[in-house]
């Protein structure tokens, strides 16, 4: 009985803390006129999907841009981080620990500093407003994290396993492709998931490395949507709901990878 009391309190806590999300969904379903009343409706009394239709028509390009950038960031991050993590975890490499330390340090660098200098670098290379620039910039945040998470996992792969392959005549590349990669599947999902979520959520690089003339990620789309004086909160909140979908879906289908990433990134580093 006492334990169910805890559950009740827990539900209340969750309701209070997740209220802002409810409020987002609530506003996304109400006509703009209803949102501007003095006392708000606590439920969508007259639900409407105009917000979502306007979000789709106005923000579809931005959503697509974000999908491409996020998937590109996942690919680049894993391509570079997987072999590096293997080298740092399984192959004795001189200077390896120093490199790990460098990865920890570069994670502390504030994004605005990176944005500042990457802007000048990419504009020299004529890469402003390009997927390449956004993917490479987002990868600065995801690669160090991915290497550290994957390395922490690969250290635990028994040496017997990798060395047996070597004795059988497999080179490092074969060992890597045939043993390390398949065994590390879970850690790859965690690293890839966080790379996706970061790139999807990125606002700083999006707002500094695009001018709005060609491509623009959804986060920048929302930012500019809010900046419009019209303040169509119904449309804004509908867009916000759409932008939240990947995070919500991933939390549901990949919760244990998410938790592994949060704790792995913080403590095992």
């Amino acid at each position: 009985m006492k334990r169910w009391g805890r559950t009740a309190i827990g539900i209340v806590i969750v309701l209070v803390l997740l209220f802002p999300l409810y409020w987002m969904v609530n506003a996304s379903l109400q006509p703009s006129g209803a949102l501007l009343k003095a006392d708000p409706d606590w439920f969508p009394v007259h639900p409407t999907f105009t917000g979502y239709t306007s979000a789709f028509s106005g923000q579809l390009d931005h959503l697509l841009t974000s999908v491409i950038v996020a998937l590109g960031t996942v690919a680049v991050s894993l391509l570079i981080a997987m072999p590096a993590a293997y080298a740092l975890a399984q192959l004795k490499i001189r200077g390896g620990p120093l490199f790990v330390f460098a990865l920890l340090i570069v994670q502390m660098i504030p994004g605005i500093v990176m944005a500042n200098s990457l802007y000048t670098v990419f504009s020299d290379l004529n890469l402003i407003d390009s997927y390449t620039a956004l993917i490479l910039a987002d990868s600065t945040a995801t690669i160090p994290f991915a290497i550290l998470v994957l390395r922490a996992f690969m250290i635990a792969i028994p040496r017997d396993l990798t060395e047996a392959a070597r004795v059988d005549g497999a080179g490092y590349l074969r060992t890597f492709a045939a043993i390390v990669v398949p065994v590390s599947r879970n850690a790859m999902v965690t690293a890839g998931l966080f790379a996706f979520l970061f790139a999807w959520a990125d606002f700083l690089f999006g707002v500094t490395l695009t001018t709005g003339s060609t491509i623009e990620p959804i986060t920048v789309g929302i930012y500019k949507f809010i900046g419009n004086q019209t303040a169509d909160w119904n449309g804004i909140m509908a867009t916000a709901v759409l932008a939240s979908v990947p995070a919500a879906v991933l939390l549901v289908i990949a919760q244990r990878y998410v938790v592994a990433g949060v704790t792995g990134g913080a403590i095992k580093e």
Binding site: R3, R6, T7, I9, G10, I11, V14, P20, L21, W23, L36, D39, L79, I80, P83, A84, A87, L91, I93, F99, L103, L104, I105, V106, M108, I109, P110, G111, I112, V113, N116, S117, Y119, T120, V121, S123, L136, T140, I143, P144, G171, F176, A201, F203, L204, T208, I218, T219, I222, I226, W233, I236, M237, S244, A247, V258, V262, T263, A266, I267
Partner: protein, 321 residues
Amino acid sequence: MTLLIAGGVGARTGSNRPSRARATRRWRDRLARFAFLVPAVVYVLVFFGYPLAHNISISLRDYTVRSFFTGEAPLVGFANYGTVFDDPLFGKAILNTLIFTVASIFFQFVIGLALAVFFADRFPGGNLLRALLLLPWLLPLVVSGAVWRWMLDADHGVVNAALRALHLTTGATPWLTSPHWALPAVIIANIWIGIPFNLVILHGGLTGVPVTLYEAAALDGAGRWQRFRHVTWPLLRPVTAIVLMLGLVYTIKVFDVIMVITGGGPANATQTLTTWSYQLSFRQYSFGPGAAVGNLLIVLATVFGLVYLRSARTSLAQETR
């Protein structure tokens, strides 16, 4: 010295040829292993090393929009830093950064710890509810910022409506348009965003506390608070240090939340070092001072970061002991 080594190597390789082959093989082996790390090393050098050096270089130059076309940016020494220090906004941005960081971390930590302790006891649905609480942390910060901007709206926001319904206020508190309320408003939003992170890490730390210790303390007649005070708190210290330091490193550089909710305004009431650096570089196109502010941020973040790494190392050492 050099001669000696050269002679030694020559003597060795000259005397027996198989060992030379072995040396080449070892070299090849070392290269093969290093090849796996090369892409990452190149990436870090190109995308961290170069930009950082570039940022320092920009901060020492008169870098303007024109520089992009002419490629000319004359060296001006530390003039940009002088400009930044003399700017009346400098003190304000430092103070805002400090208040924002300390207040955010304090409340995130206290609330996160309380929730972690609450969820540490097993009860039906506990794990599911705890997982749901992660959601705010996974959402894009722009989304969270947008939601809070809407909730804190003076005339139509739910926060003011709730305060009126509870008879705590009668009017409409101008959360985002008053210089007095804007900073508390962005802090409240940021606390909400940071609670899940604190909860997850502290919860992880709590599960590491042996149950037998609680049982022993309970047998000795320790109440709930005493058990927390004398068992949980001391054993949680390494994890606490990690959470606080990571919180510092994250919070100092918060950008999205402030940009979306207030944009640094009104009247710079929520301008922090991060948003100010953005304003300087990307709104006023004063890249030199913008880079200078950025470098000050790096110094701040690295100092806290090194403290974090030290505490993380000692806690890891304690774990393995």
